[in-house]
């Protein structure tokens, strides 16, 4: 356990310090949201209607942007090999790394949501709902995205391939995240059903992601 805590602490420190780049995700999130009014016009009513979808898309793309950092830096300096060879099961190490990545890169997106909600003319309760769904849904993005990150690092090709592999897997999260937000804000349908499925997706990713990523690292690293 101590090794896992140490790993989480180390990853968070590296991510937040100079050169870590975790907070670039938040900046990217902000930029995507700011771009939207330029594309669809500064119509406040329309922006408020599209708000949850825009926030979810922005968060999805921002989390995709930082996923690349999950394994590449460790692979470059060789510490990934040490983690792979250590006595701690690789699945647990992967889960710890993903948790640290979510704390450093995913949680800031949720915290930034209220500010960005203002830009999109969402009222307080709507913003809170979107932030809540993001809080429930971003772990799913990180933990399923980890599979793609592990595949990409073993292949020495990050970037584009990662996006192509991860985006189809994240579609269900997007669907239920936006559905839950819209149900709470406008819709006649209930908030509970899509939100429960969203939480289920996160738990499912929590179980599946570490195993698939560990399998891919174990088979892929030389």
């Amino acid at each position: 356990m101590r090794a896992l805590y140490a790993l989480i602490g180390r990853d968070i420190k590296i991510a937040l310090r100079v050169g870590g780049g975790a907070l670039i995700g938040v900046l990217f999130f902000l930029t995507v949201v700011v771009l939207m009014p330029f594309a669809i016009g500064p119509d406040l009513a329309l922006l408020a209607r599209l708000g949850p979808a825009i926030l979810w898309l922005g968060a999805l793309l921002a989390s995709l942007l930082t996923l690349d950092r999950l394994f590449t830096a460790d692979h470059d300096d060789g510490s990934l090999d040490l983690i792979t060879m250590s006595r701690t099961p690789l699945e647990l190490s992967c889960a710890a790394k993903a948790l640290a990545h979510w704390l450093a890169a995913g949680l800031p997106l949720v915290i930034a949501t209220p500010v960005l909600g203002l830009l999109l003319n969402l009222d307080a309760s709507a913003t809170a709902t979107v932030a809540l769904t993001l809080l429930a849904g971003t772990p799913a993005l990180t933990f399923t995205g980890m599979i793609g990150a592990a595949l990409a690092v073993t292949l020495h090709r990050g970037g584009l391939l990662l996006a192509v592999l991860v985006l189809p897997l994240s579609i269900p999260v997007l669907i239920f995240g936006v559905a839950a937000s819209e149900a709470a804000i406008t819709g006649p349908t209930s908030f509970g059903a899509p939100f429960s499925i969203l939480c289920a997706l996160s738990l499912f990713g929590l179980v599946l992601g570490p195993f698939a990523a560990a399998a891919s690292l174990r088979h892929g690293l030389d």
Partner: protein, 246 residues
């Protein structure tokens, strides 16, 4: 001859060389019979002649999922049993599966226009099949991104098994969500709701398309094995050329 004997690529090549002409002939005959029966099938009382799209659309849709199932088995073969031909099978199946999925989407779209009044609808079945198509393309991209085939095989195997989650979602999407796409009518509890006049040609076509896939798959596997041999010979050639004194 058992499955393990076919692990030897040379035996596999010899065995499939004898098998393939027969399979191709049976496929051609079944396809001809199926197409004839489809053409002779009566018009539907509601849909008219457009119902005949079903005889192409449904086998393609079934195969789009069947091929991913084959690839998942091959992925297990790669990761668990280390069967030497498993990654060849997985690699050869991906473009075929993408083609069947694409055809299912296109024929469904052409059928949807007269029946639903739209080429595309964001309904659960259509969306999940579109995701399947995207995952096929991602898998092909993954295969093409890596030079070393065995390394690519293991990465692709992990992705294939993860993507297999989509299969039950596609199958049950019409039951779980209230969709425009009709619910299952052939493989369902309590027997088929399809009339015999439509069911028999459909089943013939399904068998014909499955055989078509198997034939193409075996041929593609042969090509892949030969391609790897050519590559190995080229590398030996280059290595020898490098050793020669200048």
């Amino acid at each position: 001859m058992t499955l393990i004997d076919l692990a030897n690529p040379t035996r596999f090549l010899a065995f499939t060389a004898r098998l393939l002409p027969w399979m191709a002939a049976v496929t051609a005959i079944l396809l001809a019979v199926g197409l004839y029966q489809s053409a002779m099938a009566p018009d539907d009382y509601q849909q008219g002649a457009t119902v005949k799209i079903m005889f192409i659309h449904v086998p393609n849709a079934w195969l789009s999922m069947f091929v991913w199932g084959v690839m998942s088995l091959a992925a297990l073969g790669t990761l668990v049993w280390r069967h030497p031909l498993a990654d060849v099978a997985a690699k050869a199946a991906a473009p075929l599966g993408a083609a069947f999925t694409f055809l299912a989407l296109v024929t469904g779209s052409l059928w949807g226009r007269p029946m639903w009044g739209t080429y595309w609808e964001w309904d659960a079945r259509l969306t999940s099949v579109l995701i399947l198509f995207l995952m096929y393309l991602g898998l092909i991209a993954l295969w093409r991104a890596v030079e070393d085939p065995s390394r690519a095989a293991r990465a692709a195997a992990v992705l294939t098994l993860v993507g297999a989650i989509n299969l039950p979602i596609i199958k049950f999407s019409v039951d779980w969500w209230n969709t425009l796409h009709q619910p299952a009518s052939v493989m369902r509890m309590g027997g088929s709701t399809l009339d015999r006049a439509f069911l028999i040609p459909l089943l013939v076509m399904a068998v014909a398309f499955s055989l078509l896939f198997l034939t193409l798959h075996l041929a593609a596997m042969r090509n892949e094995i030969l391609r790897r041999r050519v590559r190995a010979m080229q590398m030996i050639h280059v290595a020898q050329a490098g050793q020669r004194p200048v």
